[in-house]
Amino acid sequence: MKKKLLSTLLASTMVAGMLAGCGSSSDSAAPAATQAPAAATEAATEAPAAATEAATEAATEAPAADEGKVLNIQCWNEEFINRLTDHYPGYEANDASDPTKGGKIGDVEVKFTITPSDDNAYQNNLDTILPENANASADDKVDIFLMEADYALKYVNSDVTMNLADLGIDADKDLGDQFQYTKDIVTDATGNLKGASWQACSAGLIYNRAAAKEVLGSDDPADVQEAVKDWDTFNATAAKLKEKGYTITSSVNDTYRVYSNNVSAPWVQDGKVVIDDNIKKWADDSKALLDAGETNNYELWSDDWNKGFYPDGKVFCYFGPAWLINFSMAPDQDGSIAKDGGWGFCVGPQSFYWGGTWIAAAAGTDNPTLVKDVILTMTTDQDVLKEIVEKDYDCVNSKSLLTSLAADDSFGLPVLGGQNPYGELEKGAENVDMSNISDYDQGCNEEFQTAMKGFFDGNYKTYDDAVAAFNKAIVEKYPELTTD
């Protein structure tokens, strides 16, 4: 009997111990469970009150009041938040010092959800919530989400993104002033436009004026353009620069976007990955330049890559859009080329673009009128766009505005030594052709550069070995695709 008692005691302590092991959950669960009913009853009593309040408000307010009270916006950084806060007429921030806390447009609450792009987190988040958007409760419905060009088609080609025509936006009439390439990126397979951008991030070649004078004898954009007008001339110029101790670019990765924006066919055709001739040309040209010591193999944004922002880095040029010139090339650092206005700008061998944010309406939104107004105001309103240029230096998505900026000498940029790049930027934006994008561009571009790094470093013996590794990586990422 005593033994039995003892064993019961031991067994019960053991079971208790086991429960204690899961302590954190059971401990917190218990009070939560007791609180839950209370909360539920509270909510139950409050809910009708709120509903009637909302109903009476709705009845007295504007006709748009049958729409949602909360405008939910999904984004990956603060760029759009700042643009909306600074430039949307009638927007009131909740906290002037922290725009991410949201604000109000009329009586609609604006809420931002930031999910960083790192490790694909932003897209993973969208992939989870967008297909369920129609079933989400009214205040949680995503109304607007932002996209980057690299993966825009993934969302554009699915039902989770609303057709702009369904919002009442006419692509030709309302967005006629926008550049064609910004529309190509968000046009689905059947020709419907599903997003719009306020930026035209057309880019060009940003060259070191001192180096141009020393090697080419002139730093005039027209003369420099002549020396880099196509890839053969560009590579020949690289040899000249080498003699004077300059590398033509900081890294082979600088030119990748220029080549990859000028492909003749999409990455994926009928479910098969095809490496375009221009992409292969990038690999060939880059390998040749590297072997000749005329460029390097740094990662973009690394400390080594940045060295060319200073005269001692001995880099002839970078490829980039207006935002790179204005924000990234160390214009605040003493001794940098940018601070002394030592950069020049020309179109370069081929036109390309870099960056840009597209605004899209999520299917299932309960604020269609407001969403339409946000898209139209932010991407077409001339006054708003002019403000954005003046305050944020974005290269805006408006042909007429860029034309007038190009003619206005007061828009010369200090980092370019007073040169006004808007004429070249507009010309570039006209020439960018993005009709050859596919749903898989982001993965294909990343994996191709990774594989080619192995080739450039000599870890893959031949180009074909590197392509084989690229093919493997693609099939891992996109199991439905086939390769050669």
């Binding site: 033994k3 064993s7 031991l10 067994a11 053991m14 079971v15 111990g17 086991m18 694909n120 992939d127 967008l130 297909p131 993934k154 969302y155 699915s158 989770v160 193999n297 740094y298 690394s302 400390d303 080594d304 749903d439 990774t450 790094k453 192995g454 470093d457 870890n459 893959y460 590794a469 493997k472 990586a473 891992e476 990422k477 996109y478 199991p479 439905e480």
Partner: protein, 302 residues
């Protein structure tokens, strides 16, 4: 009759004591294991926003993995990096354990050193890998020291060299685990009867002979345990190379371990291929463990 029933009644407490383990094992090990095997027979992945499958496809996933030969390459990568880390680890641990347990050496501050060698294991593997990534970057401190000392003329790109990257992974695993192994081996050595050492000394054996002829044979069960746990840990190597190479397994996929490969399939939520790979990994781990156990453990059964 009465006696046996009492025994049976008493035995039930044994089963009751086993319940916690069984429940935890079933929930966290057995059910996931079965569902992994089940999933491996399906085509089941996401492409962007589209869900493809699950469609039953039998052994197609296994056929795909085994036919293209990549499995062996990544298994090779894993084993090479494990050996690079394990060989110095077991040698240094044996030496340290022998010193720490040798009463004739009268080492001072034993507790302090035991703590110090165990410390690297307390750092998170990812933090440790991040630290090494920074240290050995092209413009990192190691390169600048080597250049200032005149050993190198221009920075050596550690992350672009297959050998250097693999050695870094091995070095990190060695640093992280040799303390743990030392503690285990010390426990084993202290379990050996002191009179055996004294007898050997009286018979005129040298320190080396005592180590080889007395310590090592008697340490065999612990050595087997250390080898098996380290092998299983090595086969599942993931966090260090993943962080060091930013998930790419570069240069040229030479540091891509099997679990990193598995992780790559999860980008597309490819549960079919992931499951098949996990099952193969499970089998390989099982076979290797049995092999090591048989090879080194036969004498202990006597």
């Amino acid at each position: 009759m009465k006696k046996t029933s009492k025994v049976v009644e008493y035995n039930k407490w044994g089963y009751i004591f086993l319940i916690p383990f069984t429940v935890v094992y079933a929930i966290f090990q057995l059910i996931p294991l079965i569902s992994t095997i089940y999933n491996s027979f399906f085509e089941n992945f996401r492409s962007g926003l589209k869900q493809i499958g699950p469609n039953f496809i039998g052994f197609a996933n296994y056929a795909k993995i085994l036919s293209d030969g990549d499995l062996w390459k990544y298994m090779g990568n894993t084993m090479i990096m494990w050996i690079i880390g394990f060989v110095p680890q077991i040698l240094v641990s044996l030496l340290l354990a022998a010193w720490f347990t040798d009463p004739s050496l009268r080492l001072k501050c034993q507790q302090f050193f035991k703590t110090v060698i165990y410390l690297p294991n307390l750092i998170m593997a990812s933090a440790f890998a991040m630290l090494f990534f920074t240290l050995f970057a092209d413009s990192g401190p190691v390169n600048s020291i080597l250049i200032q000392m005149g050993i190198l003329e221009k920075p050596f790109s550690f992350m672009s060299s297959v050998t250097a990257t693999r050695c870094l992974v091995g070095l990190m695993n060695f640093l992280m685990w040799f303390g743990n192994t030392t503690i285990l081996l010390m426990a084993g050595m202290m379990g050996i009867d002191q009179s055996l050492f004294e007898a050997a000394e009286v018979d005129g054996a040298t320190a080396g002979q005592i180590f080889r002829k007395v310590t090592l044979p008697l340490l065999r069960p612990i050595l087997v345990y250390v080898m098996i746990t380290s092998l299983i840990g090595g086969l599942q190597m993931f966090d260090v190379p993943q962080i060091l190479t930013n998930g790419s397994g570069d240069p040229a996929r030479s540091t891509l371990t099997m679990i990193m490969w598995l992780n790559k399939h999860l980008y597309s939520k490819n549960f079919g291929m992931g499951g098949a790979l996990s099952v193969l990994l499970f089998l390989v781990t099982g076979v290797l463990s049995i092999a090591v156990f048989k090879m080194t453990g036969t004498n202990t059964d006597k």
